[in-house]
Every structure is written in C-alpha cells, then in structure tokens.
Subunit: 463 residues, 2 copies
C-alpha cells in the first residue's frame, strides 16, 4: 500500500459530516445515537423517508436532500433497498458507507452484493454489508452509543460485528483502548487484506487484532499479515477452523473458510500470533500492551499454597513453559529471609505463612526480576482466599501496594509479570483488587491457564 | 471395606467432643474458632502449655488434663513436638487426630512421620501431617471458621489443604455443597484409597472429588477408584503430571507421583472423570450435581451473534462435541416463527434481533429439548452485552425468567442445559444474572470453553 492509498483509507476515519440512513425508532434510534450527545464533533444528519424527526434532528427524505457534503454514511435500510441508497451516496460524493443491513451473500444473495459493488465503483468505499462499520475514538466515530471514546493503540479488524462490539467492551474492562475497530462483515469492497495493510502503516496503531472467517484473496491476506507482523504484533483469531465451524461461517458472512493450509502455513511461517477465541484475543492483547516480550520460556510461579503451586506448575509446563530451578544466588537470598513452616523457596515458590511479612513479597519479586534463570513471573494473588478477609485485610492492602509498585516496573525489568486472581467467595474484594491491578497496567487473569496461554504466545512472538 | 471398617471411619466424622492442641494467638485462634460460636454442637476444649484462656475457654496444659473424653483432636504444635502429642492422644483414647503442622516427609523428615504412625498404632487414626483435616457440615466440623455449614452430597478427598479450602469456597459460590471434605496431606495413616472406599460406601455422598499428588499403595487406589466410579461419579485431579510438577509434589506432600502408567490406565480403563485443575473440578461437579448425563455428544448452541456462533462451534468441536444440523421438524417449527433479519435457525442458532420477541427463546429451547438429533444445549446469555442495559433490561428480565423455568426442568428433558455468560462491561448485571441462574441450579460458566470442557467429560462418563 503506497502513501496515496494509505491516505485515501485514512480519510475514511476522519469524516467532517455523517448521515444515518434509516435510523430505527424500534431500536431507540441506536445508530443515530452513536453520533449525537457530543460523541461525534462534526455535523450529523438523519435520512428517513417517513419519519419527520429523530432525536430532535430533522429527517431528510433522501441523502440527496441533505444541504451539505457528507463523508460517511451508515445505512440501515433493508437489503433490497440498499443498491438505490448506494447509488445516491455515490451521486452525493460520500466517501464511505457502512452497510449495517444483512440479507446479502450470507443468505445466498451474492448478486445483490455484486450489484452494490458495481454501483459504488470504488468511488464510495463500502464496509459490509452485514457489519457494524467504524469505531474510531479519535474522530468520535462509534457503532454503539455506550462505548467510551478513549483513544488507544490497538487496531482491530473484525469480520464479525458482535465480536467487534464485544472486544470493545471487554477492552474497556481490561484497559485496552483502540485506535480503530473496523467491522467489515461480508467484505464486498473493503476487505481484510487492505485493512491490515492500512493498520500496518497507521502510526496510531501499535498492535493489530484480527477476527476473520474467510477471505477472497488469500494470497494478499497472507502477504499483508506477514508484513504487518514484521512491524507490529498481530494477533489473529480464525473463525471456522472445524467442519461445523466452516458451515456456520457460510451462514454468518457468506465467506469460504476452506483454506486450512494457508492458515497453518501462516501461523507457522510468520510472526502472527494465533488465538482460538475472543477471550484469548483480549488476554494476549492486554499483555502485549503492558508487558515486555519474554526472552525465553522459563517462568517463576509465586503462590502461598503448595497444592496450588503443583497445579500451576503442571499447567504452565503443559503450555510449553518451563518451571525450572531458581539460580543458587536467588535461593540463597530468599532462604535467609523465608524460613516459616511450610514455605518453599524452590520454583514454584510457596510463601505459606511468611506472606504475612510485608517485606517478603517485594524481596521475592525483586530477586526473581534479577534472576538470569527466569524469563517471566506469575504471581497468584490468593491471600484473601486463604485466610478470610477479616483477619488478612490490612496485610493484603499493604501487599497489593507493593505488588503494584513492582508490576509497574515490568518494562524496566524486561520480564513479563502477570497476576492471577482465582475465583472465590469474595467477589467484591476480588473485583476491587483486579481493578487496581489492571488500572496499574499489570496483566491480570482469572486462572493460571489463561495466564499460561498468554505467556506461551508471547514466548513464540519473542523468538 | 466391610461394614465394620466403614463404621469405624464414619465415627471419626461424628465426634462428641473435640480439642485443639496449640491454638495460635498470632493466627487469631483460627483453629479454635472453627469449633466455637455455635459451629460445633459438641464439647470443645483448648490445650496450650502457656496460654491461660483462648476465646474465653480455659486452656488445659495437656490433653491428659481435659476432664472429659475427647474424640477428635486438631494438633497445631511444631513438628518435633508432635510425637509426644500423638502419644498423649493415644493414651487419652482420642479416635482421630488431624496434624495441621508441616515439617515431616515433605521436608525429608520421613522418620518423624514413621514415628507418629508407630505411636498411634492404628488406635488413634491420623489425618496428615501437613493438612487441614475434616470439613463435615452435618456434624459441624470445619477447617475454616468462615465456611458455611450447609450440608451437601459431594465428598472431596484432597491431598492439598489449600485446594480443600479453595474448593469449599468455590463450591459455596457455585452452590456445590459437601457431605465431607477430607484434607489428608502427607497421608501417613489415613490415605486416599481408604478414604475413597469410605466415600464410595457413604450414603450421604453422591459424587466423589479427589485431588491427589501421589499414593503409597497404587494398586489399592486403582481398585478403590474403579469400584467407586461404578457406583458414583468420581472426578479426579492428579497433581504432578509433568516433570516440574512431580518435583513440586515432593516439596509439597513428600509423595512420589511417578506412576504415570497407573494414571493413564486409570483414566482409560475406568469411569473416573479426569480433570486438570481445580476450576475444572468444580465446573464438572456443578454439572454432575444439576444436569443429567448426555446421551451423546451432539450439542445445540443458542446465541444472538453470528461471530460468536462460529467461535462457539469451533470450540465445541475442538472438544470432541458435534454441532450438527437440527432435525427437519425443529427447523420447520423454528423457521415459521424466527424470520427477523440476520437470524439463522441452523445450528449454531443465531436469534439476532428476534431475541427481543419474548416468545422466541422458550420456543427454541423447548424445540431443542424435543429434537432427537440433539443431546445437550448451550445457551450464550449475551443479551445485555449486545444492546446495552438501558434499552434491553425489561426484555432481558423476561427472558431470564423463561430461561430459568426451562433450565429447572433439565433432569426431565434428559439433556444438559448450560448457560455461558461471557465477561463484559456490566459486572453487577452479569453477577446478578449468574447468581440467579446458579440459584436455580443451572450450570453457568464464564466461557464456552469451560462449558465445552465440562460437556466433554459428561459425554465420556455417560457412555
């Protein structure tokens, strides 16, 4: 993608005026609401053949009646009316149209899709049909009125609208902020390869996410992903890996997801990170944003329970990580301070009752950060779990403060530091801790399994 | 295990009087607190050589000074003092002693452990050392003062004390209640085989859980588990599956976990359900308690997003489940009612906007319950996710009511019905829904992956 092509796509994300064609009263004017109430700073128009006003805005019968230039349009009219709408948009000089409506190739109506492409002739670029279009906090564009418009550095290209929404919401929860999310559905015009090429060049995007079910131009996609992954971390979830999954894809976006060899080759031959669902997609992205890449696969596990240490070790090793011995100097330093009954200064580290000593945890973490035998650290935060909130709370508060101050330095130490807060009774306590860790930009996961999956991916990428 | 042997173990769970030897002021009298404040209905004694009183109870210098018979003792004195304490317990006629203290074979002091076994001579049965002992709500015994004493039907034998506590807490959260939890640590006397034989015969125990790291008598364990699994569902998590895990086991309970062949044979040749961590242990148990066993591996997936349907399908199929076509009659019934844009009455079912019609979901669930091509149903509850709480709340409330009324009947329909509530922004809403589903005894999981793992195990057990 040359500079000219890059700029022509980039402009689509920065419209001066937008219009919603066919806003729906039944859906509480959802699409129009995306641009009102101070969300979008440019001009906003509503187009509807029957409604007089919508959310206090006048409704124009057609886009051609709007007395202004319009750069970006969201069309939510029925499928069969869409060609006419696209024709009017081309006439009006609209730069991009998101076709929210479904009822095209995913239900076998390929010819209707081909027709709108023909009408648009590349003059008006099309996102969709069967998609949510653009979320771009910088320019105030969103596909859900309740999403935050905080700016970030993750660019997400999603063939599924539902996954685009979900990732935005999960992202907000985890502190993942986006430069752009682009839901492109059936991808009749703007398709994954071009969008990946764009994000690869986009200076605002530091990490690329992709959810994809199938692609017309596999060769270009392969090349786009390979080149993007040389420049930035690229995390890909491929939908339609199994036979039944491929069948579901056809009903969803009409795509053919059959190129299994392409995908296998891609994940083998490139630095693209492969994940299997949206939970992994978010979890890996959380780590890429906040952690350094590990130099190798040797992990230290810090816990306060021996049984938990054993299970954590098994799970890490089953994910290709190594739970190796600590270096002699680390053992020497820690052994001189950690002497309580039931403690264990091997790896996994079992602090047992000595975690009550507020100096112990920082000593452990600092020693592991310096230990050349260790590439990353997983800390299982089960304190309140093990002793009950009443008794342990003051100690836990102090500990959390120290864990956070260590975790914030992880880019300096050069070692990923993840926190695992397992499920247990104290939901509100747990949620409070999780929030504080995440707000301090420490990757925090609900289980060791999730943490191991992420670390496994980071190790591969780091190689 | 004959009737006599069964009764002799069963008596250990029903003491008339208990004593705590060495309650610790530093730990806020944790062990003594387990039996006070109305928790244990029998008599409670404190034994401490230096303290005068503990929690308002007088402290006797030795168990021999207690002017009463004592059936059950928890000993929390240092390891080296333990042989003397055990000797006094034998002299006193104590039936069972839980040795909480660690510092025995797990730190290489095998001879100290052998010594206490010799002293006890089978007259006083030993749990431990290095364990939490007995949790038995029926008789008011607990190893944590803050655990509920509600009675249930799951019996859990755990080599790890931490995992015993954690399972009890996670169980409370999920509505899993226990008949007994027995944490047996180093297992110098009462060991896994005998405890499994006991639970297998115990009429109060309907489901058996086991967390085990290693066992002295592999042959007897194999036989005990095989026989138990013929009578009741038995779910086993084996700690120390990997090389590093085995090393961690030695430091934890001093056990040798080397018999990999035994474990592989066990999981292949018996009906024992194999899980890999405590999350799976709880999740599988939740389903066993509340769902029927599926007749086969054909699952129907109900969602409102196509992309989510695709990913759910891949993940189910990757767990050995089949996402097959629905029967023609189901498709006919559903097609006549579900006609909205973007809906899909194949499998996975995508209700799209039609989920807003309150009659649709019950129709879908009832049709799937009757469909001979379907063995189980997974319902992804993402309604509030997809439309935001403000707009959707009344619809969601109505839907939840209907989902619950369907889910309650799952033992009648003979098909497991699981709910998946993915992570998203609305924590309090999500938690409220999760609570209501769980309170209605519908297995509810955070991800499709967790639900698939459970269903995979149930299918295997159902064969």
């Amino acid at each position: 993608m040359n500079e000219e092509e890059f700029r022509s796509i980039d402009r689509l994300f920065h419209p001066r005026a937008v219009a919603v064609i066919g806003p729906s009263r039944r859906r509480d004017w959802m699409w129009l609401r995306c641009f009102t109430h101070g969300r979008f700073q440019g001009r906003v128009y509503a187009v509807h053949p029957k409604e007089k006003t919508a959310l206090g805005l006048p409704c124009f019968p057609s886009i051609l009646d709007v007395p202004d230039e319009v750069d970006y349009v969201v069309s939510a009219v029925p499928a069969e009316m869409t060609p006419e709408i696209v024709g009017e948009c081309v006439e009006k000089g609209v730069k991009a149209i998101t076709i929210f409506s479904s009822g095209f190739s995913e239900v076998g109506k390929k010819e209707l899709e081909d027709e709108i492409v023909r009408i648009a002739r590349g003059k008006t670029r099309i996102l969709g049909p069967n998609c949510m279009g653009i979320y771009c906090p910088e320019s105030g564009l969103t596909f859900r009125p309740d999403l935050s418009l905080q700016n970030g550095s993750v660019g997400f290209v999603s063939q599924s609208g539902g996954n685009a929404i979900r990732s935005a919401m999960v992202g907000e929860d985890l502190g993942i902020r986006f430069s752009k999310i682009i839901s492109y559905g059936n991808g009749c015009d703007l398709d994954a390869p071009e969008l990946i090429e764009y994000l690869s060049k986009d200076p605002k995007t530091k990490i690329i996410n992709l959810y994809i079910e199938g692609c017309r131009d596999g060769r270009r996609l392969f090349k786009a992903l390979k080149e993007a992954a040389e420049k930035k971390p690229v995390v890909v979830c491929k939908g339609g890996r199994t036979k039944a999954g491929k069948r579901a894809v056809i009903s969803h976006t009409g795509a053919l997801s059959g190129e299994s060899e392409l995908w296998e080759a891609l994940f083998k031959q490139t630095k693209v990170i492969n994940v299997s669902d949206w939970t992994e997609l978010s979890n890996v992205t959380l780590a890429l944003l906040n952690s350094p890449l590990p130099r190798g696969n040797r992990v230290a596990i810090v816990t306060i329970s021996g049984g938990s240490g054993v299970m954590n070790t098994d799970i890490c090793e089953e994910h290709g990580l190594l739970v190796r011995k600590l270096s002699p100097s680390t053992i020497e330093i820690l052994s001189s301070k950690i002497k309580g009954v039931g403690t264990n200064v091997k790896n996994p580290l079992d602090l047992a009752i000595d975690y009550m000593n507020p100096g112990v945890l920082p000593l452990v973490l600092d020693s592991l950060a310096k230990d050349d035998e260790i590439d990353s650290i997983i800390f299982e935060s089960t304190f309140h779990d093990m002793v009950g909130p009443r008794w342990a709370l003051p100690v836990v508060e102090e500990m959390r403060r120290r864990v956070i101050s260590f975790g914030k330095k992880q880019k300096e130490t050069g070692k990923p530091f993840f926190i695992v807060i397992p499920r247990h009774l104290f939901h509100s306590e747990r949620e409070k801790h999780r929030r504080m860790y995440l707000d301090s930009r420490i990757p925090t996961y609900p289980t060791i399994r999730r943490a191991s999956e992420v670390l496994e991916r980071l190790v591969k990428r780091g190689k």
